[in-house]
């Protein structure tokens, strides 16, 4: 048995929690001022912040679902982080309320007069209407929060009892959950992000977000683990092999991000249909093109080439710096996906586009740290974790 809790680790988590809370509160005051000055830009920046930060709890849920199905030592060593992450979903649901309040500021289809004058939107109004938007949001969050808490409770229970039949039920639940997760995230981002341009549609859009969430979460996991590894017990858990594993997964998600991002473009580019191309006209044939080129270079090519090297993936300091860089690129990517919907004419910047995400990030990190402390303290005897610590290769008896 090994204790996951220790005073120096707890003190460091407390420190970050206070700092994050400070950033969150100061940022929230700033964003609140922004709301009164320019409500339209505030809601836009808020949606950007929401879509960027929801990637972490949802990514944690998605990776936990997948790991419950597949197993693997990489996931055992980081499970406290992922469990803490997915247990912040209730806060994400609270964050969503402001998106709901800003419905009319954000979504063209929420205005009945606009819809009435537009035959396409009239036909889409069976799905795209305010009531449906709210009801679906409640269902998404109920599903996600339910799964997050049931899974983390079931994993804890298994660690205490070692009941293999119970573990099998958990795996079956995760199987259904993985399917529901991808479907629900697809529907959610269709509602929250794709419907910003309600005439446009793309079937791979949801997968693009799911993969983006996976990448954000892998990068976040590596940064967190490298930071936790400065204290016991994570100094023992985070061996070179674990960094190598996590680095490989981050590399895979980088590749997958490039793959799905290109897939959407290639299909729309090949068909060249007037109802599909405007999305790329706004993002690739205005001054937004500079951001697109920047993303292809720094979100894809650069991390791809650097992460090819095994030495980089096995070096905690280096791989966590690249993870931090990828996190910044994730924000640039989200900005490129969302902001051109409002500013189709070309590149646009508003101070709220940084202030609101910083505020939300502060609050989210503070709550994540709170959850993490709970996860570390309540951790029962973790033989799973001990198994992940086994150094020796299998013996040839």
């Amino acid at each position: 048995m090994m204790a996951l809790n220790n005073d120096s680790l707890r003190a460091r988590i407390d420190g970050v929690q206070k700092l994050a809370l400070g950033v969150g509160v100061v940022g929230a005051i700033g964003a609140g001022a922004g709301w009164s000055m320019d409500p339209t830009e505030f809601f836009r920046s808020y949606l950007l912040a929401f879509l960027f930060w929801m990637a972490f709890p949802l990514g944690c849920l998605g990776l936990t679902l997948v790991h419950t199905l597949t197993g693997g030592k990489w996931g055992i060593s980081v499970r406290r982080v992922h469990h803490a992450g997915m247990r912040t979903l209730p806060l994400t649901a609270l964050f969503f309320i402001v998106v709901g309040i800003g419905l009319h500021q954000l979504y063209e289809w929420s205005h009945l007069d606009v819809v009435a004058a537009d035959p396409i939107l009239t036909h889409k109004s069976l799905y795209l209407n305010a009531k449906g938007f709210y009801i679906r949001a409640v269902l998404y969050f109920a599903l996600w929060i339910g799964y997050a808490y049931v899974l983390s409770a079931r994993h804890d229970h298994y660690e205490r009892t070692r009941d293999e039949r119970y573990a099998r039920t958990t795996r079956n639940l995760a199987g259904v959950g993985t399917l529901l997760f991808v479907l629900s995230v697809t529907f959610a981002v269709t509602d929250w992000a794709m419907s910003l341009e309600p005439h446009w549609f793309s079937t791979i859009y949801g997968v693009m977000f799911v993969v983006g969430q996976g990448l954000s979460t892998m990068a976040f996991t590596i940064v967190m683990c490298a930071w936790l590894a400065k204290s016991a017990p994570y100094s023992a858990i985070m061996q070179t092999k674990r960094y190598h594993d996590l680095g490989k997964l981050m590399f895979a998600f980088t590749l997958l991000w490039g793959y799905v991002t290109l897939s959407q473009f290639l299909i729309i580019w090949s068909a060249n249909l007037p109802e599909e191309t405007p999305w790329y006209m706004h993002r690739g044939y205005t001054s937004w093109r500079a951001i697109l080129v920047f993303l292809l270079t720094c979100h894809f090519a650069l991390p791809f080439l650097i992460l090819l090297s095994r030495k980089v993936k096995q070096n905690p300091a280096l791989v966590s710096k690249i993870a931090l860089f990828i996190l910044m690129m994730r924000f640039v990517d989200m900005s490129w996906l969302i902001v051109p919907a409002f500013h189709t004419e070309g590149f646009h910047f508003h101070w709220l586009y940084l202030a609101t995400p910083a505020a939300m990030g502060g609050l989210w990190v503070a709550y994540f740290m709170h959850q993490l402390k709970g996860r570390l303290a309540s951790a029962p005897a973790d033989t799973y974790l001990e198994r992940s610590l086994e150094l020796a290769p299998s013996h040839g008896h």
């Binding site: 290109l262 473009f265 290639l266 580019w269 090949s270 060249n272 090819l308 095994r310 020796a392 290769p393 299998s394 013996h395 040839g396 008896h397």
Partner: protein
Amino acid sequence: MHHETPTLYGVLAEFGSADELVEACKRVKAAGYEKVEAYSPLPLPEVGHALGHTTKLSSLIFCGGMTGALTGFGMQTWISVIDYPLNVGGRPFFSWPSFIVITFEMTVLFSALTAVIGMIALNGLPQPYHPLFNSAAFERASRNRFFLCIEAADPRFDLAEAKKVLASTQPLLVEEVPH
């Protein structure tokens, strides 16, 4: 028929576990031997580290992948722009986005082929005969035993000395293997 005294290939030690093999590798390496090879029924990255083995394979695969990318992209560019330009939906002849899928597939194909062929070639395979087959105990190298061999080709090789080093690692067996 004439008999020759068989020349010595090396001294072989047998171990019961992977840990003992890794430990022995470190010792033999520390004693200064260079021509040392370990044999195990399962992959053991630790042995590679202990013996200080390096491989050019990853650089080779990278070059293979790049060759594939250039071949794929170059081939399509040559076909569509120079050899047989076709007007497809009014697009420019050099429509690079449509070349990416094949370029990607060629990169993967060339990398994978380089990896497999390179691995076989760098391992010196196929090799129908190996002096270690002269050892009866060595049969179990593909089942449940671990072996370490100090080869006679080592510049520092001295039979008595090599036997002593290997014996100090508490093996199950130490034997001379002829060519």
